[in-house]
Symmetry: C2
């Protein structure tokens, strides 16, 4: 490929069924987003959950009920077709992983686009930092912590974090770089001793893949977009639709 | 008075009926907030309006339906009694200005606390800048602009701005100081020519008091917490309760 893809080109490839893989590393410079779709009668509580937990749930856009177009950030998109894959949840259980959701669409659906750390990883790499799971070609390790989110209506649950190891001087730089991306979880929530936030064993992440710490490195933990999915599984709404893990929505927002 | 009041002391004085005046200049170091109370069936649209318009409507906290306690930011407060005064609106018309709203409380009320520029004015003064309307002892001048807010459900309307005149070097400093307060409208939205944002005559503000520009000064415009009130008057919900102008809620948040 002679140049990077744009956000729109990734969306078009998804819409045509030509891209069904994770989106990490695609379209640098375009913000990526987690997707949560809920019926309108669950939307106020979930919006409140995001408002009260902005670091794990930074809202990039919330659509009006029934609209599949995020007209403020990505007006040419169709949220029913423009992701590499979807997950359908009934009462908190995964029931289907369709390639598009046109056949499931309802007039009362509200879509939430929530920032993703794939966005600031480009900036970490651009700042000359090495991101371990990118280097190893695996998924980022993610952990449930003992830090509760602020609950809202039926939504509650633990903060889920992603972890990237750095030498202390690089960790300091990573704090500064990621802090400039409040729409992608912003600065870390913790660094150093995993036990202080209730993580017993770094080699056994709750989601994603374990990565090794090398000599002199400390683990650095960021709030993670899996947090709202954990809250969703706990709240068990009758119906919810999300992106498939790692298969994010590419916005037109700079990121 | 030998020292400044705290946020809680101001709230207690309001609760006891001992303070019924505007709160500008009170309790420096504590964030002040606009209050909007709506029935739950109007709350999703208004929350969405705030989410889509974060500069005029920076949310400090949104209570759960029926709760008069902003437990995340100010857990000892009672929103029914702890402001100097309230306004009650029916279908967009002002019908009452009670001293407290205990007699009006409903189990479906949702309260929105929205950041206020009184908070960053302390920081402007602390940075050695002179704030004209503070210096003159009058209200800040506010103007309806030709910049539409992003609409959400039944809520729409123009961005309302407040204006403070500064010499250019001080305007540059004021941008930096206020940018550090995203919960209090953040940096300005415009500076210089008022006509560019649809303001015909600075000497005739739509709300508040006119203040003079002196030689070499330019007007600097910030997004203003009157914006959601304008949207509220346009949407005409059957019932809404707000603070009385200038009579803000004192939070326990640093500001």
């Amino acid at each position: 490929m002679s140049r990077y893809l744009t956000g729109r080109e990734v969306r078009d490839a998804c819409r045509e069924g030509q891209w069904t893989m994770p989106t990490c590393g695609l379209a640098p410079g375009f913000a990526q987003a987690n997707l949560v779709i809920l019926p309108a009668d669950w939307a106020f509580d979930f919006l409140l959950f995001c408002q009260r937990n902005p670091q794990p749930c930074p809202l990039l856009e919330v659509t009006s009920p029934g609209s599949w177009t995020p007209s403020l950030t990505t007006p040419t998109a169709d949220l029913r077709t423009d992701l590499p894959g979807y997950r359908v949840w009934k009462a908190g259980e995964l029931v289907e992983e369709p390639a598009d959701i046109r056949h499931l669409w309802r007039e009362d659906f509200v879509s939430f686009l929530i920032g993703c750390s794939f966005t600031f990883e480009h900036a970490l790499l651009a700042a000359g930092l090495s991101v371990r799971h990118v280097e190893l070609g695996c998924n980022v390790p993610m952990y449930r912590t003992n830090m509760p989110c602020q609950s809202a209506g039926q939504f509650s649950g633990p903060l889920v974090v992603s972890m990237r190891p750095f030498k202390p001087a690089d960790a300091i730089r990573a704090v500064q770089v990621s802090a400039a991306f409040p729409g992608s979880h912003g600065p870390p929530v913790h660094l150093g001793d995993p036990a202080q936030i209730g993580i017993a064993d770094l080699s056994r992440p709750d989601y994603g893949d374990a990565v090794p710490l090398r000599a002199g490195e400390i683990p650095v933990f960021w709030a993670c977009g899996v947090t709202p999915q954990a809250a969703l599984q706990q709240a068990r709404p009758p119906l919810a639709i999300t992106h498939r893990p790692g298969c994010m929505f590419l916005t037109d927002l700079p990121g």
